[in-house]
């Protein structure tokens, strides 16, 4: 009897390679589609059904975008909004994670506070703005409050869910190998909950982003929402559209590229993709 020196079962699956060409073609198709939209837009503009202050040409919008970025007006708006978003999100993540972990650990807290969190999650967070204005006044803190409360609920619920539903099989295996107490928690339960936590953080980010934009629209602080309203007040449709494009781009970048990639990687590694 002989044991072969090497496993006869296939090695690691190939990375990239074949997929690369497919991905490129898909990217090309999307690009062509976008170019098509811009062309149709320009043609509609040229026909001149609507006046240009209601329906500007894509070239006008692009010019406004470039000018705004070059004159730093848009750049300052972007940075201000991002600063607020990151502050609020950092706070929301801290609170949401701790709350979620606590709720997973203490059943009575889950039953009492968990119920409220679940209820509050259904409330669009911008509805908190009047309350925040009365509590904090017309300042940054009010808007921060709205952003935090928008994100905190989904993060804490997802964390609680992830920790509570760590696969029993992992727990069994870990306890059997001698893990217990805080080591079991840190080395098995938390990593086991990570896919769920990341999904919650992604959701929390997009809630925070939406709340921030809504808040800034009603507000007179520098920021993207404010730039939008300024466009409206100046009857400058190019600016409105240019800022909308910026907001979409930032959303795509963070949601899809950043969080989307992390989420996909984790789900793949955890064997949750099929």
């Amino acid at each position: 009897m002989k044991i072969p020196a090497k496993a006869p079962e296939g090695g690691l699956p190939p990375r990239g390679g074949l997929l690369q060409g497919k991905r490129h073609r898909r990217l090309l198709r999307r690009l062509l589609f976008l170019i098509g939209i811009v062309v149709v837009w320009e043609v509609l503009f040229r026909i001149g059904i609507w006046p240009s202050y209601i329906f500007p040409s894509p070239i006008d919008v692009a010019r406004t975008l470039i000018l705004g970025l070059r004159s730093r007006v848009f750049v300052i708006g972007i940075l201000e909004s991002l600063k607020r978003l990151l502050q609020g999100y950092a706070l929301a993540t801290t609170i949401g994670l701790s709350l979620g972990l606590l709720m997973a650990q203490l059943p009575w807290l889950k039953e009492s506070l968990g119920m409220i969190v679940l209820g509050l999650q259904t409330l669009p967070s911008i509805c908190w703005l009047p309350l925040a204005l009365l509590w904090f006044g017309l300042n940054e803190r009010a808007i921060l409050f709205v952003v935090v409360i928008g994100a905190v609920m989904s993060i804490s619920l997802a964390t609680e869910d992830g920790v509570r539903n760590t696969l029993p099989l992992y727990l069994k295996a870990a306890r059997n190998l001698g893990a217990r107490g805080w080591r079991l928690y840190v080395e098995v339960i938390l990593p086991g909950a990570l896919p769920s936590i990341v999904t919650g953080m992604k959701l929390g980010w997009s809630f925070a982003w939406r709340s921030l934009m809504a808040g800034e629209l009603l507000y007179t602080l520098p920021g993207l929402g404010n730039l939008l309203m300024m466009g409206r007040e100046l009857n400058d449709m190019s600016q409105v559209l240019a800022v909308i494009l910026i907001i979409i781009a930032l959303g795509l970048l963070s949601d899809q590229l950043f969080f989307g990639t992390i989420e996909r990687r984790i789900r793949e590694r955890w064997g949750l993709l099929s």
Binding site: P4, P13, L169, Y170, A173, L177, E187, G271
Partner: protein, 251 residues
């Protein structure tokens, strides 16, 4: 380490009241024996193994390991599950090191021991691979290495090769026999495959459908390492199967 079950029964709370899953059951597994337990699905084989692992307590009766009552999981008795239960957030090497890390073993020693064990299961070149990159057979090899890393006296295997293709399974039968012959650990191996039980076991314990009871025991004295296609193995398998059918024919 000798394992012993005395008058063990296990009941579960079912929809229509209490369900008897196991019992009443007496079983002694001497130190260093390789015991295979076979029986139909749902006969309580896994329950029995969970009790030996200390992951579940008997409703009645006592379980002992090395003369001491079993009152919880212990690294001296390690279980290997059907779907390996590797931790996907750790790479292969870190999975094998897990038990040692829990024992507070130093990093260099951990790494050395993991490397040695990965070589033993022929996976040294996959030390840095992630769990999702492995095939089913490779996962079970890693699970075996992870269990052996903490040098348990008892290995408890719950249908570990049930989901593998025949070729991989034959290979792992060989490896498991080699490891057992080298280390002399007490092994309890659960399967519903009679042939597999005959290839691996010193003794084959046959359980009845629910509630699980021991209905027959066969001592296998064939020389090792055994192969699934050996004539003697096949003959033994047939004898056990005939015996089972006879028992089923009785009222």
């Amino acid at each position: 380490m000798q394992l012993e079950l005395r008058g063990v029964r296990k009941t579960f709370q079912g929809r229509g009241g209490e369900v008897l899953a196991l019992g009443k059951l007496d079983l002694v597994i001497p130190d260093g024996e390789f015991v295979c337990i076979i029986g139909p699905s749902g006969c309580g084989k896994s329950t029995l193994l969970n009790i030996l692992a200390g992951l579940s307590a008997p409703s009645e009766g006592e379980a002992y390991a090395g003369g001491q009552p079993i009152c919880g999981p212990d690294p001296s008795r390690v279980m290997i599950f059907q779907d390996a239960a590797l931790f996907p957030w750790l790479n292969v090497q870190a999975n094998v090191e897990f038990g040692l890390k829990m024992q507070g073993c130093a990093k260099a020693e951990r790494r050395e021991r993991a490397r040695h064990l990965l070589a033993m299961v022929h996976l040294e070149q996959f030390a840095r691979a992630w769990v999702h990159e492995l095939s089913g057979g490779m996962k079970q090899r890693v699970a075996l290495a992870r269990a052996l890393a903490i040098d348990p006296a008892v290995l408890l295997l719950d249908e570990p090769f049930g989901a593998l293709d025949a070729i991989t399974r034959d290979l792992l039968h060989n490896e498991l026999q080699m490891i057992w012959m080298q280390t002399g650990k007490t092994v309890v191996f659960i399967t519903h495959n009679v042939r597999e039980a005959v290839v691996l076991g010193d003794r084959v314990v046959v359980m009845s459908p629910r509630p699980g009871r021991i209905v027959a025991q066969h001592i296998i004295t064939l020389p090792r390492p055994r192969q699934i296609e050996d004539v003697a193995t096949t003959q033994f398998t047939r004898r056990i199967l005939e015996d089972l059918q006879l028992k089923e024919a009785l009222p």
